[in-house]
């Protein structure tokens, strides 16, 4: 990318705030950005995993859902929901093994991309980047660990409560009304939330309605916020009696 473009500065600002590029020297970041190209994907576009074998994509604006679909049943599960600053399918930086996944743009999204081999070279040549890459990779692995653990050990209500809690915006100043904002999932449809917890829309909708009636969540103009964080935390704690009682609904 050329340096003088407004978009270039925007990309730098976004990347500086991410785990992957935080703290990197300006000249190194400039060198890396010079290799990138600008990409946009329109909302709803679905891409197969082969595209990620060719180029490494970094999300600049918007959200991207990474999912796996059973072609025989049509059932799907969301493996991750990526936001600005996230790398797409980072595991392909480690090896060339093809793997099944589908990427779906939830919004009109902006990305920057680089040939996959150039991105792999960064890991080899730049220990500064590597120092960021490994913790980032660890974070992604922990998220998958959380997903698999939730699916195996908890019921849908607990999984949904844990999902929402994981997306409460950190360091977000609580509003006057005492509501906590959510990052990435604040305006998702029930269907999308269901894919994230391995359930179906009807079940997720029932739990969300129950929490809204109880005053745990507040929804206004498709925008959900948490109003009772501690109560939601209790629902996320499977052993809590209130959680068990609520589970009977």
């Amino acid at each position: 990318m050329k340096r003088e473009k407004v978009y270039y500065e925007h990309c730098k600002n976004v990347l500086h705030q991410t785990v992957l590029f935080d703290g990197l020297a300006e000249d190194l970041l400039d060198d890396m950005l010079s290799l990138f190209r600008r990409d946009t994907w329109r909302r709803g576009v679905q891409l197969d995993s082969d595209i990620f074998q060719e180029r490494f994509y970094l999300l600049i604006d918007g959200r991207l859902e990474i999912m796996r679909v059973n072609p025989h049943t049509g059932r799907s599960i969301t493996l991750s929901l990526l936001g600005p600053g996230d790398g797409v399918d980072v595991v392909t930086l480690l090896n060339n093994e093809p793997h099944e996944l589908q990427a779906v743009a939830i919004d009109d999204i902006s990305l920057i991309s680089v040939p996959i081999n150039d991105a792999r070279d960064w890991i080899d040549l730049h220990p500064e980047f590597n120092r960021n890459f490994l913790p980032y990779l660890g974070e992604q692995m922990r998220k998958l660990e959380d997903l698999s653990t939730d699916l195996a050990l908890y019921d849908t209500m607990t999984r949904l409560a844990r999902l929402i809690l994981r997306h409460v915006a950190p360091h977000h100043p609580q509003s006057v009304c005492g509501k906590h904002s959510l990052k990435l999932i604040h305006d998702l449809h029930d269907e999308s939330l269901a894919r994230m917890v391995g359930s179906v829309r009807q079940v997720v909708n029932r739990h969300l309605q129950h929490w809204r009636k109880q005053g745990v969540l507040h929804k206004d103009k498709f925008h959900t916020e948490v109003t009772e964080l501690q109560l939601l935390q209790k629902f996320a704690d499977e052993s809590h009696p209130k959680s068990k009682q609520a589970r009977k609904i």
Partner: protein
């Protein structure tokens, strides 16, 4: 995957746009997938526009050779005056989009026929605004539109350390 994939390269001069177009042709890219968009006007005192004297359409203005050649190479060309935008000269695939099916394109945000055409090629709203500003500033857009493989191929031909090329998928 739909065919609403586009790669856009911006040039400061018609010479560099012409050279890039030549490279695409040499590499065998289908010219039916290529469009050129520019202002076609540079504060001239002379008449500006397209005219015909029989079989061929000719461009009248400072960039006469450039736009007349494009009309021959890319089969079609147009010259419009858009309210709030000014003059717009185009050649290639985009001409058909500018004059057909505009009613069915729902882009919103008060976009003109150019914005609607770019949107229908898979270019998002933010980028349309950027491209419109580039054209107003006298720059020339070279657009390749088609399957992802064609667009990626065009990108590899066009991009360089000094030439910025963006890829849009929809």
């Amino acid at each position: 995957m739909s065919e609403k994939n586009t790669c856009v390269s911006i040039y400061s001069s018609h010479q560099s746009a012409e050279q890039a177009l030549g490279e695409l042709r040499v590499e065998g890219l289908d010219v039916q997938q290529i469009s050129i968009v520019g202002k076609g006007y540079q504060n001239e005192e002379h008449p500006v526009g397209f005219y015909t004297t029989g079989e061929h359409i000719y461009y009248q203005g400072v960039q006469t050779a450039f736009w007349s050649n494009l009309q021959k190479l890319l089969s079609s060309a147009s010259f419009f005056w858009l309210p709030g935008f000014g003059t717009l000269a185009t050649a290639g695939f985009i001409v058909r989009l500018l004059v057909e099916g505009q009613e069915s394109i729902e882009v919103g945000g008060g976009f003109n026929v150019l914005g609607k055409s770019l949107f229908s090629m898979g270019i998002p709203r933010d980028s349309i605004v950027d491209y419109e500003q580039a054209i107003k500033a006298g720059k020339i857009l070279l657009i390749v539109h088609g399957m992802r493989s064609d667009v990626e191929r065009a990108y590899h031909i066009l991009h360089s350390k000094t030439q910025q090329v963006a890829v849009h998928m929809a």
